[in-house]
Each structure stands twice: as structure tokens, then as C-alpha cells.
């Protein structure tokens, strides 16, 4: 039994690399999209705010699995053909973007109005206000929940196995299909996911303590 699992380890490692690659892509892309849409939600004109609000509330209101199937099966139906890998990344990114929008809204909203008014008074442009006054302060409020949310991206990436992408979850199921050693392999998988996510949540907790001098 141990021999069979040891034999499968390189294959599992490949799957694990895919899990990390999917998570990394999703986290990076959603950070960019989420921050841009979050700024639109806080500072944009009313129609833009409505669009972002509806986007965020809709995405956060449905199960991530439904979103993945919608993107994967729905896009080809309307003539858009993506590889299953990119369909999965797109779906997970949409989901994560909605979370990032909310983290950003919370972080920017926690900065006292006086900061914004003072920077207007000294004649900073909108971009300067964001870059030199608002974002540096909002950053420390944004970081801990965001890092904590990275664990959601890693956990969510396990769902791409349902589209036939050989991530860690799918690799485990394939090895079980050949060896029938279900329990040891699921436990091994759980331990790997746990190690990654627990390390991330420890980092987030440490950062939170690091920034705990900030008071409301």
C-alpha cells in the first residue's frame, strides 16, 4: 500500500503544482480586477456603482460550483471557446473578484472622511489622493482579510477537478481509481491542503497582530 502511494507521489506533486498555479492566477487576477471595481464602487458615478454592486451581490449569492458550470458549459453555447483550464480560472476569478471588491470597500470605508477632505484642501488630484493618502492607510486593513481569503482560493481550486483538470484533488481521485486505497490518499490530500492553508492563515493572523495598533 505504501509502495503504491510512494509510486504515485510524482503524479500527485504535478497535481499539487496545478493547484498552486490555479490559485496563484486566481489570486493575482482577482486582485487587479477587484481593486479596480472596488474603487469604482466607492468613488464611481451612480450607474457604475450599481453595476459593481449587482455584480458583487449576484456572484456572492450563488454557489461557486454553479458559477464554474455556468462558465464552463455556458460559454461554448454562446460561441466562446476557452480551454477548460482557463474557463475554470475565469470562474474562480469572478468569484474571488467579488470578495476583493468587498474587502476594498471595507478597508477604504474605514478611513476617516477628514483624510480625504484634508488632501483635497491641499490640492491633491484624485489619483494622488488615492496613491498617497487613502491606499497607504487602507492597505493595512485590506491585507489581513485578503490573505485569509487566499485560503478560499486554494480550497475553491479543488472544484476545478470536476472539469477534468488534473489538480491535486483530481490526481488523488485518479490514483484511488487505480490503487483502491481511498482512505490513505484522501487523508494525504487533506494534510497537503491543510498545510498550505494553515500556513496562510497563520500569516494573516500575524499580520493582523502586526497592525493591531490601529484603532477605530
Amino acid at each position: 500500500m505504501l509502495g503504491q502511494i510512494a509510486y504515485a507521489l510524482p503524479f500527485l506533486a504535478q497535481g499539487f503544482a496545478v493547484t498552486l498555479w490555479v490559485s496563484l492566477l486566481v489570486v493575482a487576477l482577482s486582485l487587479v480586477a477587484g481593486v479596480m471595481m472596488g474603487v469604482g464602487l466607492v468613488y464611481g458615478p451612480a450607474p457604475l456603482r450599481w453595476v459593481v454592486r449587482i455584480f458583487s451581490d449576484t456572484i456572492r449569492g450563488i454557489p461557486i460550483l454553479v458559477l464554474i458550470f455556468f462558465v464552463y458549459y455556458g460559454l461554448p453555447a454562446v460561441g466562446i471557446h476557452l480551454e477548460s483550464f482557463w474557463a475554470a480560472v475565469l470562474a474562480l476569478t469572478l468569484f474571488k473578484t467579488a470578495q476583493v471588491i468587498e474587502y476594498l470597500r471595507g478597508a477604504v470605508g474605514s478611513i476617516p472622511k477628514g483624510q480625504s477632505e484634508a488632501s483635497m484642501a491641499i490640492g491633491l488630484t484624485f489619483r494622488q489622493r488615492l496613491a498617497y493618502v487613502i491606499f497607504p492607510q487602507a492597505f493595512r486593513r485590506f491585507l489581513p482579510p485578503w490573505i485569509n481569503g487566499v485560503t478560499d482560493a486554494v480550497k475553491g481550486s479543488a472544484l476545478v477537478s470536476l472539469l477534468g483538470i488534473t489538480d491535486l484533488m483530481h490526481a488523488i481521485n485518479q490514483v484511488i481509481g487505480r490503487t483502491y486505497e481511498a482512505m490513505p490518499l484522501y487523508i494525504l490530500g487533506a494534510v497537503i491542503y491543510f498545510a498550505v492553508n494553515y500556513a496562510l492563515s497563520l500569516a494573516s493572523r500575524r499580520l493582523e497582530r502586526r497592525f493591531s495598533f490601529i484603532r477605530e
Binding site: 450563488i62 460550483l65 458550470f69 480550497k155 484533488m169 484511488i176 481511498a182 491542503y193 494553515y198
Partner: protein, 221 residues
């Protein structure tokens, strides 16, 4: 592009979705009820226990929270029966998994609620001669529940959405119904539009109802 929406086949198979939605709600309600029992017991035990018990409870909570739900679902349904001699249906298996899963999240919610009960209330309970049991039952738990209601509602909603994972072991809930229609009628865009609307409507209706309950029991500041 050039896709023409046609909802006829969705309505003809709507019983799959409607029955699925009811089953999703049933799975969520049963799992949350069991999860609340697990969460309450472990949280009360945690705040009064020594280091060993605390480590074990924290281990359970951290393990569940850091592993994907889909892996836990597979582990309980396909893995567990290979080592212990029990047979159970996919539905029972999923309820057991989601109960353990929600239990872990709820321990955290209840624990932080118990720790947020003002010291003065517990002292007041002592002063009027309540036993530790009475203090727990009449002072700490009621206050804790009011404090934790908003966090509880959010956990409820997210567990309702998590029931979609049951589709991977063929439990015929809403997402499974959607896939069935997807594969059998190929009205793909339509079925996911309808299912999205069903999840959104049910989720926000639940949220609204829970907010009403919260307002009724809000802690005065």
C-alpha cells in the same frame, strides 16, 4: 453568438429544479441543526476546559476550515466505508459531512460569542446566587446567542450555498438538477440562468428573514 434563449425545456423539467431546491434547503437545515448542537457543546466545553481539550477542539476546527469541502465529502462517502464497516446513502453521508463542517465554523462563532459576554453579567448572576449551570443557561447562553446572531445568519447562508457540493456524489439537489437538465436538454444558458435566480432568490429571502429575527433580538447598546 447568435444564441436564442428557449426556456420551454426548462419549464418542462422544472420539477427537477424545484425538488432540488427543496432538498438543498432540507440538507442545509438538518446539517445546520446538527452543526449548532456540535458547535454549542464544543464551544461551552472549550471555554471551561484545560489545555488538552482546547488543543483537540482547536485541531478539529482548524482541520475542517483549511481543507476543501469537496475533499471532505469524498473522504466521508468513498473513503470512510473502506475502513469502517458501515453502509450509508449519499444523502446521509453528505449530511454527516456538512454537519461536521458547519460544526467547526459554529464552534468559532459561539466561542467568540461566549467570550464577548460582559464579565459584569456573570458576576451579577453569581451575586444573586445562581449556580454555574443556571448562569450558563439563563445568563451566558442567551446573551451569547444575541451577540452571535449576525455571524450565525451569514454562516447559514453560506452553508445553504455549500449544499451544491452534494451534487458531486449525485445527491439530487438543485445543482444536480441543473446538471441533469444541462446534459439532457442542452439548454445550458437557460438552465443556469434559472438556477442562479433560484439560488439568489432563496439566499436573499433567507437573509431578509434572518435580519428580521436579528432586529427582534438585537442587543441594546
Amino acid at each position: 453568438m447568435g444564441y436564442t434563449l428557449n426556456f420551454n425545456l426548462i419549464w418542462r423539467n422544472f420539477d427537477k429544479l424545484w425538488g432540488g431546491l427543496l432538498l438543498s434547503l432540507e440538507l442545509a437545515v438538518i446539517s445546520i441543526a446538527i452543526g449548532i448542537v456540535i458547535g454549542l457543546l464544543l464551544a461551552v466545553w472549550y471555554v471551561s476546559a484545560g489545555r488538552v481539550v482546547r488543543t483537540v477542539i482547536a485541531g478539529y476546527v482548524e482541520f475542517i476550515r483549511n481543507v476543501p469541502l469537496i475533499l471532505l465529502v469524498y473522504l466521508v462517502f468513498y473513503g470512510l466505508p473502506t475502513v469502517i464497516d458501515v453502509a450509508y446513502s449519499a444523502q446521509t453521508s453528505f449530511v454527516a459531512t456538512l454537519s461536521l463542517y458547519s460544526g467547526a465554523y459554529l464552534v468559532e462563532v459561539f466561542r467568540s460569542g461566549l467570550e464577548a459576554v460582559p464579565r459584569g453579567q456573570i458576576d451579577a448572576g453569581k451575586a444573586i446566587g445562581l449556580t454555574p449551570w443556571q448562569r450558563l443557561l439563563h445568563v451566558r447562553l442567551p446573551t451569547m446567542l444575541r451577540i452571535t446572531l449576525p455571524a450565525l445568519s451569514n454562516t447559514f447562508i453560506s452553508l445553504f450555498k455549500d449544499t451544491s457540493v452534494a451534487s458531486v456524489i449525485s445527491v439530487p439537489e438543485l445543482t444536480y438538477g441543473a446538471q441533469w437538465i444541462n446534459f439532457n436538454t442542452f439548454r445550458i444558458v437557460e438552465v443556469y440562468l434559472v438556477v442562479t435566480a433560484m439560488y439568489l432568490f432563496t439566499g436573499y429571502a433567507l437573509l431578509y428573514a434572518l435580519r428580521l429575527v436579528e432586529r427582534r433580538f438585537r442587543v441594546a447598546h
